[in-house]
């Protein structure tokens, strides 16, 4: 009779668990919670039921209750990947980043019963996303580099990886993946990604070309349009751009000089005692007092001027705030030169 009683309880537990699963898949998480609780009343020790109950609670926005269940499960099975992943999500939701990171690590290095490679990869993706969203780009980089070392095979995951690498400040790795995606299947998304990566790498000409290609694939793409315009402006303003004539190089350099001189004067008027700006003014008076446009045909002279121009824009941005218009373009060119010198 005892065996019959136990069998009946198991049967009831299975039945209620099945109902709960159906309701959970149908999006009725609240009802699923009640059903999983009923299943647990007949089979209180079942970790699967408790896990599913925790999932249903999370989907019902009952995070604290889910946390309590998951913590008690974790105490029994601290190495279980799924439990660690769910706990990480709970703590991420509560903005407890260090706890979330700890449990994401547990999910990445934990035991998974089914498809461990995929699940660990997803855990790493989520962790990287979390770190980036909290401004911890450096920590995110190490996770993304680990992902890139064993890259996923599906295009969706490759795109996701490349996007995250770009956000994490690894544009070269991102570019490699975008180019790989272009080779496999030339899409507007891959072109746009490549354009963004090239732009981050200060390769404005390449960025312009990829953005144009992305716009051709998707004429409605606002991001492609914006990137196209910005990269085009930079290409046109860059005195060091490849493929332009010596005259254009000279004209651009002189235009940049005039712009920077004006910026310097305006900034000095507002901050007359700034030592850096005063020094730059002295340098201008000393080195460029007799500068003419034609002087800039000479490459060395041009480089001297451009160095001075980039110093002025950088110092003025620090002292007088972010520039606008063409000054902003010059500043961006100066920063790109600094980054990729």
């Amino acid at each position: 009779m005892v065996r019959g009683f136990e069998a009946r309880r198991e049967q009831l537990a299975d039945r209620w668990f099945g109902r709960g699963n159906r309701d959970l898949q149908a999006g009725n998480a609240t009802q699923a919670v009640n059903e999983f609780q009923t299943a647990l009343s007949y089979s209180p020790n079942s970790p699967d039921y408790r896990l599913k109950l925790a999932v249903a609670l999370m989907r019902s926005d009952r995070w604290e209750e889910a946390r309590a269940h998951l913590l008690s499960l974790w105490e029994e099975r601290p190495g279980d990947g799924e439990i660690n992943l769910l706990l990480a999500r709970v703590f991420a939701h509560r903005n407890l980043v260090s706890n979330a990171v700890r449990y994401y690590q547990g999910a990445i290095y934990g035991v998974w019963n089914a498809d461990p490679v995929h699940n660990r990869r997803m855990a790493r993706f989520e962790l990287a996303n979390l770190l980036l969203s909290r401004g911890q780009a450096q920590a995110a980089q190490s996770e993304l580099i680990a992902l890139a070392a064993e890259p996923p095979t599906s295009p969706e995951e490759l795109f996701q990886l490349a996007d995250l690498l770009l956000r994490a400040g690894e544009p070269q790795r991102a570019l490699d993946i975008y180019l790989q995606l272009r080779r496999k299947n030339r899409t507007g998304a891959a072109d746009l990604g490549a354009a963004q990566a090239c732009y981050a790498l200060a390769r404005y000409q390449s960025a312009f070309e990829y953005a144009r290609s992305a716009l051709r694939a998707d004429p409605q793409s606002g991001a492609a349009q914006d990137l196209l315009q910005r990269s085009e402006a930079l290409v046109k303003a860059d005195p060091r751009a490849t493929g332009i004539s010596a005259r254009d190089r000279m004209l651009r350099s002189y235009a940049g000089y005039k712009l920077a001189a004006g910026r310097l004067q305006d900034c000095l008027n507002a901050n007359p005692s700034d030592a850096t700006l005063l020094q730059l003014q002295q340098d201008q008076q000393h080195d460029f007092s007799k500068l003419r446009q034609n002087s800039l045909r000479d490459a060395d002279a041009r480089e001297n001027v451009l160095r001075w121009v980039f110093h002025v824009e950088t110092a003025a941005a620090r002292t007088c705030g972010a520039p606008t218009g063409d000054d902003a373009l010059l500043l961006q060119l100066a920063q790109a030169q600094e980054r990729y010198r």
């Binding site: 005892v2 609780q37 009923t38 009952r62 309590a68």
Partner: protein, 588 residues
Amino acid sequence: MIEPLEQHGKPTPVRRKYWQTLGSLLSGEILTLREEQFFLVLAIFIGIFAGLAVVWFRIAIEMSRLLLLGSSLRPTFPRVVIVPAVAGLFIAFLVIRFFPRARGSGVNQTKGALYIYDGYIALNTVIGKFLTSALAIGSGQSLGPEDPSLQIGAGMASFLGRKLKLSRERLRLIAPVGAAAGLAAAFNSPITAVLFVIEEVIGRWSAGILGAIVLSSISSVVVERWFLGDAPLFRIPQYHLEHPAELLAYAVLGVIGGFASLAFVKLVGFLRTRARQMPAWAHYFQPAVAGAVIGVIGIWFPQVMGAGYDYMDQAMHGQFVWKVLLILGALKLIATCLSFSSGTPGGLFAPTLFIGAMLGGGVGMFVRASFPQMTVPVGAYALVGMGTLFAGILRAPMTSVFMILEVSGNYSIILPVIISNAIAYFISRRFQKTPIFDLLSRQDGLDLPSLEEERELQVLRVEDAMRSGDGFYLSGFDTLADARRSLADSPESFFLVQMANGNWAGIQRSEVKALTSDDRVPLATVVDTILPRLHPDTPLDYALRQIQDWPMLPVVHRADYNRLLGVLKLDDIIRAYRQSNVEHAETS
């Protein structure tokens, strides 16, 4: 050489000796067990049978619930109202007509067997308790299975003891042995069961009964876990004291729990009295009315129906907001008072723990919401709350502390438990002098001893009664002449005589006068009766047994028997008891 069993067709001496030995074995001459040892062995079997009975009892409760209310934790309307009401009618009929002694929780009935009925619990009562309690709890009445299990175990033990024709003394003690077994199996906690039976049923510790109770509890739990698994009644979350300020919150829980306990006991006392005062025909409907009211509550809060262990588990895992927890605690309190006062058979353990879990969880959730910087483990508050209400309502403080330790397996929780339990017990004791079990027994017309009062009675010792020994003793080395001179200065009629090796003798004045020996002989040579010695910390009860017909006894130092600290007379003992009674009456 091995001697043959037969020679020339006749049994040899070896064979004759073999049969003699076997005969002795069968007649019990060689393997005779003393009754104490037999009692211990019997305790194991009682535990096994009680464990089996509790397994069947739990199955019966579960099957009743499935049959009557369905498998969902939220029974539908109108089933949720009709079932408890109709079942209540049926239960009342069974109890009143066939099983009148099945009424109540079972604890007082077991105490009654011990103190009044020489250990007798009728088998009819056991069967009635089993059936009616299973039906009551399964149909949703707000009662628990532990107390009925206690009575079922006690009843089975009583039945076994009668069949085995135990002595009257052993038969009286066998009921608590079975009670502990039944409670241990029901609660899956042997230590809690042992402590509760000793604290609330027997009221004393003695090696013989303690051994039997422990053996029966362990064997019943083994049987119960064999059949139903070793899953705990509820899963306890891990607990660590994060900040000492948390102890304040537990103190607040103790205060709340104390007043909640008070409300519970007062309400039960009030309702039960009113219910019993109603005409006899009304008694048939009281369980039905209670069931209907609980069913109506159950439409919105099905958690208050039945024992409620699932919901205690949920409370420990923070599954309710604090307002809901407090509401559930209050509703369960009302529902249990209704069920119990209506005369429905069933226990108070589980509802007490439920109310405590809800109140504790509510306090914990409130503290967490109010002080987010404190990482408050709500489950710990629920757990401590259970112990708090147990201490406040059932007034078993030691059991309440060890129960929490046993179910949680976590000793770091002992400090909050002690603080909260002590406060609740103090409040309950302060405003409700009579504990609930004593209150119920007096309402039933039974004058059972109050074990709480016995615990708190001051133990009188010899030092509380003795008087100075000056003028009452003579040295054994004194001569008869010296002794007679000493006697002339004293009005006493009896004297102690200090002998060698720390012994003390006694001699009457008249005996000294009547002695015709040489005056120069030492007194020690003419006295021969050695008196029993007492010590200041000796219980006065023991001294009373020792004093017998002696006019007085010596009170000596434990490390130096020659050092007389005082003397004790029978008058001194009686005076001390009288004084203690006066003081006790003044303070109570």
